[in-house]
């Protein structure tokens, strides 16, 4: 697999869209290209952030935050 092909696969990989047979080939190429591959995959994860930011933020109730913080403080206290 060339690095250009690896880049195509990386974009599919980060959104979980590689099929199992492609995944094996991808992992072999990932090991072959080393740090260059890891850097590119890291960069591709920026797609996640962008997809989330493309959505209109949704409101959630204040009770969720209260429950969350109570759980966190309880856990921290134990």
């Amino acid at each position: 697999m060339s690095f250009e092909e690896f880049k195509k696969h990386s974009r599919l990989y980060v959104i979980g869209a590689l099929e199992s047979e492609e995944l094996e080939e991808f992992e072999r190429a990932r090991a072959k290209f080393g740090k260059k591959a890891e850097d590119f995959i890291t960069e591709c994860y920026g797609l996640h952030e962008a997809f989330a930011l493309s959505l209109r933020p949704a409101k959630s109730s204040a009770a969720i935050k209260e429950r969350l913080m109570a759980m966190v403080r309880e856990k921290k206290g134990t």
Partner: protein, 219 residues
């Protein structure tokens, strides 16, 4: 802040390129702690930092979860679980591997898709998705107006990049990212050859990736 266009692209970055993490995070208030500051404080077990991170991103993460599960109550439960997981897993976050928001989104998406699968709610969610698609409440297919672009809202700019894709590519990416579908599942759902689905995903993701890089240069 301007929209990225071919004519306004900046190509002036000099020097040796460093490992890139293209991020299009929304701007912060002056003096506000960065996301990384907050993550580091959470790693040091500061609950107030988690509260600030929650205030900053609960709306975005809830929207993402809702897009996956299509159920308000389930989304609220998952949101709470996800922020608890952020607290519990903060030590696993590494700034070398990406930005805090990207890490949180990845975690939230995985959790939401797992939740959807565990509850075997695919059928119900698909029905709701179908209804919502017909009503087009907040679909990706969205034409940003010039006025919206001038307002400089990060969301609008990103959506402009996404909405530049052909609808079939948007749909394929939407089903893969927000519904966690494999290429085969997308092919079956859309009655499209597998090779076509793969091509749509590859082309669409590359265009978004390239568009976001240009956008980042402009921001």
């Amino acid at each position: 802040m301007r929209a990225a266009t071919p004519t306004t692209r900046k190509r002036t970055r000099a020097g040796k390129p460093k490992p890139r993490q293209f991020s299009v995070s929304p701007p912060l208030e002056p003096g506000a702690p960065s996301d990384l500051d907050l993550m580091q404080a959470i790693q040091a077990e500061d609950p107030d930092a988690l509260a600030q991170l929650y205030d900053r991103y609960n709306g975005i993460l809830k929207a993402l979860i809702l897009r996956v599960v299509h159920n308000e109550a389930e989304a609220d439960d998952l949101l709470q679980e996800i922020f608890m997981e952020i607290w519990n897993q903060a030590k696993n976050f590494s700034a070398q591997k990406g930005k805090p928001l990207g890490w949180m989104v990845t975690l939230a998406r995985r959790r939401a898709i797992d939740g959807l699968r565990k509850k075997q709610a695919y059928a119900r969610a698909e029905e709701r998705l179908q209804n919502e698609t017909e009503q087009q409440p907040d679909a990706w297919v969205h034409n940003a107006t010039e006025e919206e672009i001038v307002l400089g809202d990060t969301r609008v700019l990103i959506r402009k990049v996404i909405s530049g894709l052909p609808p079939a590519q948007q749909q394929a990416i939407d089903l893969a990212f927000f519904q966690g579908m494999s290429q085969r599942e997308i092919a079956a759902k859309t009655n499209t050859p597998l090779g076509t689905v793969k091509t749509r995903l590859e082309l669409g993701l590359k265009k978004i990736y390239d568009g976001l890089k240009e956008l980042k240069d402009e921001l």
